[in-house]
């Protein structure tokens, strides 16, 4: 009942050159991509960006249907944006539907906005499709590293995320077991008004939280037994390396972004 409805993460574990890139390269690339997308003011620029996205999708061996699935949640926003722009932009009149007038400029503007949204969603979801969550966490720790000086607890944040990722499946099993046990006692998690449903969750929440916090104490003991004492001087099993591939990717993207901004 829970397993089916919860899919956490969308990582696609296959072998490709995009998958092999350093997570830091990919995070920075996506940040840059999104910013560039907002700086572009000509249609041709979008073509270049769409080209880059297509290259990444092909190199990353991402099935088209995965990309399409990512678009479903924003369908409503795309339709809304297109309609707002088509109707509300002043300009040369094309059609008139009652009090609404659709203008040529409006349609152009609508196309512009829709392509921006489509590219945004497809490219950002490619980061999570091609990078394992643990690698992303590592990448975030490195990228936040410079901010340690102003008091950003980069190591603790990353360590916390890594532990959480490890324990999500465990807690999910636990939640499922508790739900079954409480349902056998007549608990109802599915029906009722929303206040009623929130109330019904309490027999699940109390045991789930208590067991999770007990686990936290055990884990702290286990970590201390292995001499964990914070981020300073801790060595790693897997060290991130920038390779030639990362340089090539960075160069290609830099060229692509400049082209998109200039045309």
């Amino acid at each position: 009942m829970l397993r089916g409805s919860i899919t956490i993460g969308q990582y696609l574990p296959i072998e490709s050159s995009i998958h092999r890139l350093d997570p830091r390269t990919k995070i920075i690339a996506v940040l840059a991509y999104v910013i560039v997308l907002f700086l572009i003011s000509a249609y041709t620029g979008y073509l270049v960006m769409a080209g880059l996205t297509a290259i990444i999708a092909v190199l990353g061996k991402i099935p088209l249907r995965m990309l399409a699935r990512g678009l479903r949640p924003i369908l409503f926003i795309i339709v809304l944006t297109v309609m707002l722009n088509a109707v509300m932009t002043p300009g040369e009149l094309l059609y008139r539907i009652g009090p609404l007038s659709i203008t040529e400029e409006g349609l152009l503007q609508a196309g512009f906005m829709a392509s921006r949204l489509l590219l945004l969603i497809m490219t950002t979801s490619m980061l999570t499709l091609t990078t394992a969550p643990i690698d992303l966490t590592d990448g975030i720790e490195y990228l936040l590293g410079p901010f340690k000086r102003i008091g950003v607890p980069a190591h603790e944040l990353a360590m916390m995320m890594t532990i959480a990722l490890r324990f999500i499946p465990t807690l999910l099993d636990e939640a499922e077991r508790i739900m079954k046990a409480q349902m056998a006692r007549g608990a109802d998690f599915e029906t009722g008004s929303f206040i009623q449903r929130a109330k019904n969750m309490i027999p699940l929440l109390v045991p789930l939280f208590i067991s999770a916090f007990r686990r936290a104490d055990d884990l702290a003991l286990a970590m201390e037994a292995r001499c964990y004492r914070g981020g300073e001087g801790r060595s790693r099993f897997k060290v991130l390396h920038m390779e030639k591939l990362d340089a090539a990717a960075a160069l290609t993207l830099a060229l692509g972004f400049s082209a998109a901004l200039m045309v």
Binding site: I35, F38, T81, Q109, P153, L205, V206, A212, R214, R229
Partner: protein, 177 residues
């Protein structure tokens, strides 16, 4: 035991709980946005270990959500809608008067970040003259107000239940910032 390690592991478990609970939708708002119990673990960490710990769990939840369900419609959204919005919930650790004050402040902060993103979104995608601020307030209100209500009702109570039921591993008396 080292207090920092216990706080770290409790934060991690709360983070896992928050991520898990964010997939239990109690109610889905008409235009996207849903009401979940995901804020409860963040608030409880704030109450147990203070504002700094609460904010850290919130920010980490923001990063993980950004990883799992990226929903980027604007460049400023990386920060505003994710780490910052959830980070605010850590304000539950402020010990002003009663727990609900801090929780409400946290939700007010989260509401403000979402509203600002909404305004930026309309500025970037809708023609000029759209009443952006109004739309953004209504849209975010439809799911944040019910979520605030259930969090304020459940979290302080659950916090006390945990205190009564967990073995005392260490005195938290002077850890509250």
């Amino acid at each position: 035991m080292d207090r920092r390690v216990i706080i770290l592991t409790e934060m991690a478990m709360a983070l896992a709980l928050a991520l898990l609970l964010s997939h239990f939708r109690l109610f889905r708002a008409p235009y996207g946005g849903s009401v979940t119990l995901a804020m409860i673990p963040i608030v409880i960490i704030g109450l147990r270990w203070g504002t700094r710990a609460g904010i850290m769990v919130g920010v980490a939840l923001g990063f993980l959500r950004l990883m799992f369900d990226p929903y980027i419609l604007h460049w400023a959204q990386y920060v505003l809608d994710y780490p910052l919005a959830f980070g605010f919930l850590g304000l539950s650790g402020l010990r002003i008067h009663r727990p609900w004050v801090g929780i409400t402040l946290g939700f007010a902060g989260r509401f403000a970040s979402h509203v600002v993103t909404g305004i930026l979104f309309f500025a970037a995608f809708a023609p000029e003259g759209t009443p952006a601020a109004l739309y953004s307030v209504i849209y975010n209100g439809t799911f944040l107000i019910p979520e605030w209500l259930i969090t304020v009702l459940i979290a302080p109570w659950l916090f006390r239940r945990l205190d009564d039921n967990l073995p005392v591993v260490m005195d938290r008396g002077n850890s509250r910032e």
